[in-house]
């Protein structure tokens, strides 16, 4: 007979399964075995889980559809109900939450509305638990609750916090339900959910790595204490967690109800078949909408860190390079390859492979497959190339990710253009979209809140950015974001309840949408006054020097960014004397009216559009610029009447009507503009003539450019960007040099550019330079 102590020791030595029940997967398998088998057979057959046919769906399509509709409806409904528990307007008003249902081995079955990028990230977290034998330790049991927000496990950024709950039926794991919310603060080195200060993981906020935080449906005390002491804005954190747990439990009940009704075997067949069904549907969608071939694009976004108070190795002005290639195979496989992406860096804009691949579904579901059947089937129908060591796939656990959207939204914009060229070729002109705006600015800050507790804010007004133009109409203004097509700017009275900032303006910004035959959707600005601040700081994050989209088929990009804030102002006095002061938008920044009606010790009006915490008090002002989308087609082809209307509606400044659109306008009695058609015809003819005069044959232009490349005339930031791509990718280097027909010895090396190379690991030149 063994003693209790011996028994325990034996168990630990053998790595026993919890409660000694053996594996929790199907047919006595471990989850790891299940995962391996699914991967292998899917790869081998080209069908998810090897399902060459769909016996259940084909024999009983109605019953199959009934189960789908019950699960899908229930998941959507759970999200709607649970979100009302939250206090954060990010969750409640902007809808930044999502629930998804998974197979035991972490493939998604159905997903709610919301931030569906997390279909993949929560799947990655479950896979991580499987990979690390959580069945053995800490054990996966009915009514457990797990939490994850670790970027390097495959999250988007620290503020997306996952709650994961297993679903058991008679001792067997039948699946998982995951819920995610975008929390307002994660205890990073600066406040706000997408902070700019952090440049490495250890400043990026409180990271929880797939931790068991509750048993028997109850959250553990140690978890509650530790987590609430690790973040700011605790009230929001707490209610967000209650939202996620409540939603997961509602969905678990729903699934158990379905299993009770249909039996576990039917449920098992269903969840496998619905994924293969999703794969096939997606393939058909690609066949219907796209033309086989390669679609290449590129985007850039600036990282102006040189003058920010960050670590020495991070003080670099750099550019994130995002070349991409969509390859539509003849069998309709969709391949997206980011070969040539440059090196990750010491800033909070790095991404993980899961965030880019999963995020692509957010985008594709808005255009290529806008339906409720999106699940991991679509993932099995595609292939991704994400180079290791690039900012999309850092090869260092130290990388920071807090504001990864800064670069992700830039990297996705070329994909819209690639797909749109294909839609255009097929004649789906309405589906063409010139690309997404750089959906910023992120206005963030923190300090002591009205209740005396630590508080953080993160305005989500950029959820209502301008949208790219289509090939038949203008892009819609102030309405959506890439990451949330159901965008909204929210009510000012609600934001003012949460932020010690009152509004002095909310106005459309002329010229923010890209010009074109069809104009990009306009962006706008809000202007905020410090009011009720207490130990407060503010900072901004957005695109600055560079336009991150580039317009389509002759359309202009949306306007690039800038920042405006004024500290230590004379506004108190001005208000008392009823004198003018900055209001509305900074309508014409070249002739800024604001600057004439305010005195301040410090005014920031520059392109430092990512900044770190700056002290902010009452009567200081800060502007939030929400960007516009790119345009489509040559601006000279725009109907002159629409240009005049754009002036009247505040979308375009009068002087650009002539300069950009070639439209001569005249002003009426009430300041209303009309187009002078005769003059416009002449003006446009002249512009076309000037264009022809200015132009040179492409071959000639390439020759000139090649000379500049040979002489390394590019700015240090551009050279640094390319050097980072060259060091990682031989293929990209060969393509680049081949295209420009550069001599073998020509190269730009990071080491030669007088910038820190701290943390640069992969370097194919290391040994042979």
């Amino acid at each position: 007979m063994t003693t209790k102590q011996e028994e325990l020791t034996t168990h630990i030595q053998e790595g026993v399964f919890q409660q000694s029940r053996g594996p929790i997967g199907w047919d006595g398998k471990t989850l790891k075995q299940m995962r391996k088998e699914t991967d292998e057979i899917s790869k081998e057959t080209g069908h998810y889980a090897g399902l060459r046919t769909l016996p259940f769906k084909e024999s009983d399509p109605i019953r199959f559809e009934k189960i789908f509709s019950k699960l899908r409806g229930g998941v959507v409904h759970a999200r709607e109900t649970a979100k009302k528990v939250a206090a954060s307007p990010i969750v409640e008003q902007e809808g930044e939450l999502c629930f998804s249902l998974y197979t035991p081995d972490a493939d998604s079955i159905v997903t709610s509305t919301g931030i569906i990028i997390h279909v993949g990230t929560m799947g990655a977290a479950i896979k991580y638990m499987i990979e690390n034998d959580y069945e053995v330790n800490p054990g996966i049991a009915d009514k457990d609750i797990f939490c994850n927000n670790d970027n390097h496990v495959g999250n988007v950024h620290t503020c997306d916090v996952h709650t994961l709950v297993p679903i058991f039926w008679e001792g067997e794991l039948l699946g998982w339900v995951g819920g995610v919310t975008h929390v307002i603060d994660t205890g990073a080195s600066s406040p706000g959910s997408m902070s700019v200060g952090p440049v490495n993981r250890y400043e990026d906020g409180y990271q929880v790595t797939c931790r068991k935080i509750g048993q028997n449906d109850v959250l553990s005390k140690d978890w509650l204490l530790e987590s609430t002491r690790s973040v700011r804005a605790v009230k929001y954190w707490t209610l967000d967690e209650k939202t996620r747990v409540a939603g997961c439990h509602m969905i678990r009940d729903l699934v158990l109800d379905v299993i009770k009704e249909e039996g576990p075997d039917v449920y098992k067949s269903f969840i496998r078949e619905i994924i293969e069904d999703g794969r096939r549907g997606f393939v058909n969608q690609v066949k219907t909408m796209l033309v086989p071939g390669e679609y290449r694009g590129v985007s850039f976004v600036d990282v102006p860190f040189k003058d920010l108070p960050v670590h020495d190795y991070a003080k670099v002005n750099s550019i994130m390079h995002s070349p991409s290639k969509i390859k539509v195979h003849k069998d309709a496989k969709l391949e997206i390859d980011f070969e040539g992406t440059n090196r990750w860096g010491w800033h909070s804009f790095n991404a993980t492979p899961v965030s880019i691949t999963s995020g692509i579904w957010v985008m594709l579901s808005q255009t290529l497959a806008p339906n409720d059947r999106i699940n991991d089937g679509a993932y099995y129908a595609s292939e991704f190339g994400i180079p290791l060591g690039s900012w999309l796939n850092p090869d260092d656990l130290r990388s920071a990710h807090a504001n990864t959207w800064h670069s992700l939204v830039a990297a996705w914009s070329p994909l819209w253009r690639g797909l749109s060229r294909s839609y255009f070729a097929r004649g789906y002109l309405e589906e063409v979209n010139a690309g997404n705006a750089h959906t910023t600015n992120w206005l963030q800050g923190g300090g002591i809140g009205p209740d005396g507790e630590l508080h953080a804010i993160n305005s989500f007004e950029c959820a209502a950015s301008g949208v790219g133009a289509s090939a038949v109409k203008d892009g819609i203004s102030h309405s959506a974001a890439l990451w949330n097509p159901e965008g909204d700017m929210g009510d000012m009275e609600i934001w003012e309840m949460l932020e010690p900032l009152v509004y002095l303006g909310r106005q459309i910004l002329p010229g923010s949408g890209g010009a074109g035959k069809y104009r990009g959707g306009s962006g706008w600005q809000s202007l905020r006054l410090g009011w009720g601040t207490n130990d407060w700081t503010m900072f901004v994050a957005g695109s600055g020097h560079m336009a991150t989209d580039c317009g389509l088929m002759g359309g202009y990009p949306g306007a690039a960014g800038y920042r405006y804030s004024a500290l230590d102002t004379d506004l108190k006095e001005r208000f008392a004397k009823q004198l003018p002061f900055p209001q509305g938008a900074d309508v014409d920044p070249d002739n800024a009216e604001w600057d004439t009606v305010i005195e301040a010790k410090t005014i920031h009006r520059d392109r430092q559009t990512v900044s770190t915490e700056e002290m902010f008090k009452d009567y200081d002002v800060i502007m939030n610029y929400l960007r516009g989308g790119p345009g489509f087609g040559d601006a000279l082809e725009r109907d002159p009447k629409n240009v005049a209307e754009d002036i009247n509606a505040g979308y375009v400044l009068p002087r650009y009507a002539e300069k950009v659109y070639g439209v001569a306008v005249k002003e009426g009695k009430y300041g209303e503009y009309t187009a002078d058609e005769a003059k416009t015809i002449k003006l446009r003819a002249q512009i076309r003539k000037d264009r022809a005069k200015r132009s040179i044959p492409a071959k000639e232009w390439m020759k000139q450019e090649k000379e500049r490349i040979l002489n390394k005339e590019a700015s240090p930031q551009v050279q640094h960007m390319y050097a980072g791509s060259f060091a990682l990718s031989e293929q990209f280097t060969d393509e680049f040099k081949g295209f420009w027909d550069l001599p073998k010895e020509w190269m730009v090396y990071e080491e030669d550019l007088n910038v820190p190379t701290y943390g640069a690991h992969i370097n194919r030149f290391k040994d042979n330079k």
Binding site: E58, L239, G281, N371, S479, L527, F575, G584
Partner: protein, 710 residues
């Protein structure tokens, strides 16, 4: 002898229906063309038509009417087709774009899921007030009502003058947080009124705080604009109707159905809430019927041609949504909360070419029925086509034979579009569509009830509307409702509901009263004082409204409600205060306890968060006076067997076990006490009740069928 008691008017865009109900609850329906310029003309024609069924006249009957309720779509049409008054808008300077910018959510309101995520489909409707009729005036107050920037007085007159110069027909003023600090809006209002007078113009001025003193500026501003833009013009036409009714000898004050589920006078201050009267009539009727039958919890379901509407009556109350959307606008009206899904009998049925799955709706053939209607020109299969294939509806007696349907066309369409692609027989495909629709509706109904923290076993389900009873058995199957009721007079249910509505005003006010979990009694007492004074203010407002129709304050039954949440949350719950006056600390405990009971039911116990403290976010007063209401029909019980003349014969119906012979009955001829088993179809001109395998139905003494799952 005149017997008419209640007049209910349903003035649609093209037809005006009148329902005249007698002392026994029996009613006649009349129809006439709507006359938009003077709606009273169409109304009189319609009433005349109705009374011909009783062989009598308007002149004879109208003096005996005890009550009349109007509901119409004129206001909504004016709003949707943007043909309202030319309104000038005064906003905070710097925020003049706010109204036309939306709320971005208005670019996808009312969209199906697929279109909500399909960004290229989004669009904004034109703003009710264009940018060039919007002016700004400098002022700012904060969320607590503290002044940050005084109103820049010099800007007021030029701003108003600009609007007057542009010939506006009404002026709306809406400043941020005005509900916390009304002085600035009222100052501008008074100056505007003065300037209008000086200019000798007839322009009404609306300050948002006088109408909707509630938080969320886009909701409040939109609603006040709707008041000026669409509701005010209706006041004139309602007065015309009122005058005409008096002229023919009636002696009652015409009331209008309003969004909060009560009726209000045509002289009411806030008329915009009568904009949404149509679809809630059924809910109000259900509430009245439920009260009469002593049922506290009722799930109401109504299937029409284009949609399935469900709403809940819980503990005898209709749920109210206080920031709803309507006509793609976010509003701050109290609206009887109803969920609508785009699945009706006219919904299109398709097989997705890429995913191979069956899809229902969200678009529909509406009144054109389906491919089976040879005159309709519809090419895509609808749910009704499947009904025809299955034999559930009589192709020769659709809407009393007004449309003769073609079973052959329906069969062919279902075959090529649905059955062949799915690899099913035509009949199985048609049955599958019906089953899927019913499963979706059942899920929808169930999730709504679960979302309230209840289970279907605690509810009775009411089914009415043209298409409802055909699917009632299907969508209630297995949910375990306490009972399932189908009034035999289901077709007139909405009008019945209008006639049965209370004469009721409801006013809301936003409050921000924060109380910690363990709070000093002085804070609690002060909170109670502020809450009570809000109730007093609203009671006065309600009393003033009733006074317009000479109802003295002591005849009004007041009910007090409060909105509560945990501090910091953005969603509150509306709860009736279980006392008549806040007197002391123990009343606070009662408010908290009542709140937490409701909260834990709705969001699960784990979501209770007393540690955050509580916020009272609003006060509500409802005032009701007694009015005449229609009687619920009663008749003596007969035997179980339906009379011979109710039996119309047999028809082949395809069901789960293949083709069977169904018994067909004429609904009107069934007697109270009759019981029918499966498979039976009970037909009337406006609706069809199906009693499928596994069910039976009996008719009670109120002419209500009880559908029982065996």
């Amino acid at each position: 002898m005149a017997k008419s008691q209640i007049l209910a008017i349903d003035a649609g865009g093209t037809m005006t229906d009148t329902f005249i109900i007698d002392e026994k609850g029996e009613f006649v329906v009349g129809k006439a063309q709507t006359t938009p310029k003077d709606e009273s003309i169409g109304l009189m024609e319609s009433a005349k038509d109705a009374l011909t069924y009783w062989d009598t006249t308007v002149e004879k009957e109208f003096p005996s009417l005890l009550a009349g309720v109007y509901s119409g779509t004129a206001m909504l049409n004016r709003l949707v087709s943007r043909v309202g008054q030319r309104v000038g808008l005064v906003l905070n300077k710097g925020m003049e774009d706010n109204h036309r910018m939306g709320r971005a959510v208005q670019s996808h309101l009312g969209y199906s899921y697929a279109d909500r995520i399909h960004i290229n489909t989004h669009h904004f409707d034109p703003p009710l007030v264009p940018r060039n009729l919007t002016v700004g005036i400098t002022e700012r107050v904060d969320m607590h009502g503290n002044m940050i920037i005084p109103i820049y007085e010099d800007e007021i007159r030029p701003a108003i003058q600009q609007l007057l110069d542009r010939d506006v027909e009404a002026i709306v003023i809406s400043f941020l947080h005005s509900f916390k600090y009304p002085d600035h809006e009222r100052k501008v209002r008074d100056i505007a009124i003065e300037m209008v007078k000086e200019a000798k113009k007839d322009i009404k001025v609306f300050a948002s705080v006088d109408y909707y003193p509630v938080r969320k500026e886009s909701h409040r501003t939109n609603t006040t604009i709707v008041e000026a833009y669409a509701a005010e013009p209706s006041r004139i036409s309602l007065e015309q109707i009122g005058t005409k009714l008096k002229e023919v000898g009636s002696d009652f004050d015409l009331r209008i159905m309003a969004s909060h589920g009560g009726t209000i006078s045509i002289q009411a201050n806030e008329l915009a809430r009568t904009c949404v009267s149509g679809p809630i009539g059924g809910m109000v009727g259900a509430k009245y019927l439920a009260e009469s039958l002593g049922l506290p919890n009722v799930a109401c379901s109504d299937i029409g041609g284009t949609s399935f509407d469900v709403g809940l009556i819980t503990q005898g109350e209709l749920a109210i949504d206080s920031s709803p959307d309507m006509a793609r606008l976010v509003l701050s009206l109290p609206l009887v909360s109803m969920d609508t899904t785009g699945a009706g009998t006219g919904s299109y049925v398709r097989v997705d070419p890429n995913y191979g799955n069956l899809t229902l709706g969200p678009d529909s053939a509406g009144a054109l029925v389906g491919v089976c209607n040879p005159e309709g020109g519809i090419e895509t299969v609808t749910v009704s086509d499947c009904h025809v294939v299955l034999g559930l509806i009589n192709p020769n007696n659709f809407i009393g034979g007004k449309i003769i349907l073609s079973p052959e066309k329906a069969y062919e369409a279902v075959k090529t579009q649905i059955a062949d692609p799915l690899g099913l027989s035509v009949e199985d495909a048609a049955l599958g569509v019906t089953e899927l629709l019913e499963a979706q509706l059942g899920n929808y109904l169930e999730s709504m009830i679960l979302g309230k923290g209840y289970s279907p076993a605690q509810y009775v389900c009411f089914s009415y509307g043209g298409g409802g009873p055909l699917h009632t058995a299907g969508y209630t199957k297995g949910l375990g409702f306490e009972d399932v009721l189908v009034p035999a007079w289901a077709a007139g249910f909405s009008a019945f509901g209008c006639g049965a509505a209370d004469f009721e005003y409801r006013y809301d006010k936003t409050l921000d009263l924060n109380v910690a979990e363990k709070e000093d009694s002085s804070v609690i007492l002060n909170t109670g004082k502020v809450l009570q004074s809000a109730w007093d203010e609203l009671k006065e407002k309600v009393a003033e409204e009733f006074d317009k129709n000479d109802h003295a304050e002591d005849t009004v039954k007041f009910r007090l409600f409060y909105r509560m949440q945990y501090q910091g949350q953005l969603n509150d719950l509306e709860i009736e205060a279980p006392f008549e006056r806040f007197n002391g600390v123990e009343d606070w405990d009662v408010l908290v306890k009542t709140f937490e009971e409701t909260y834990s039911r709705v969001y699960a116990k784990s979501a209770l968060s007393p540690e955050l403290g509580y916020s009272i976010t609003g006060a509500i007063v409802r005032g009701i006076v007694q009015v005449a209401k229609p009687k619920i029909p009663t008749e003596p019980l007969s035997g179980k067997t339906p009379p011979a003349d109710a039996f119309l014969g047999k028809r082949k119906v395809y069901w789960t076990d293949g083709w069977i012979d169904a018994n067909i009955y004429e609904m009107e001829k069934m007697k109270a006490g009759n019981v029918v088993g499966a498979f039976s179809i009970l037909e009337s001109t406006a609706t069809t009740l199906v009693v499928p395998t596994g069910f039976e139905a009996h008719l009670d003494e109120n002419r209500i069928f009880h559908l029982k799952e065996l």
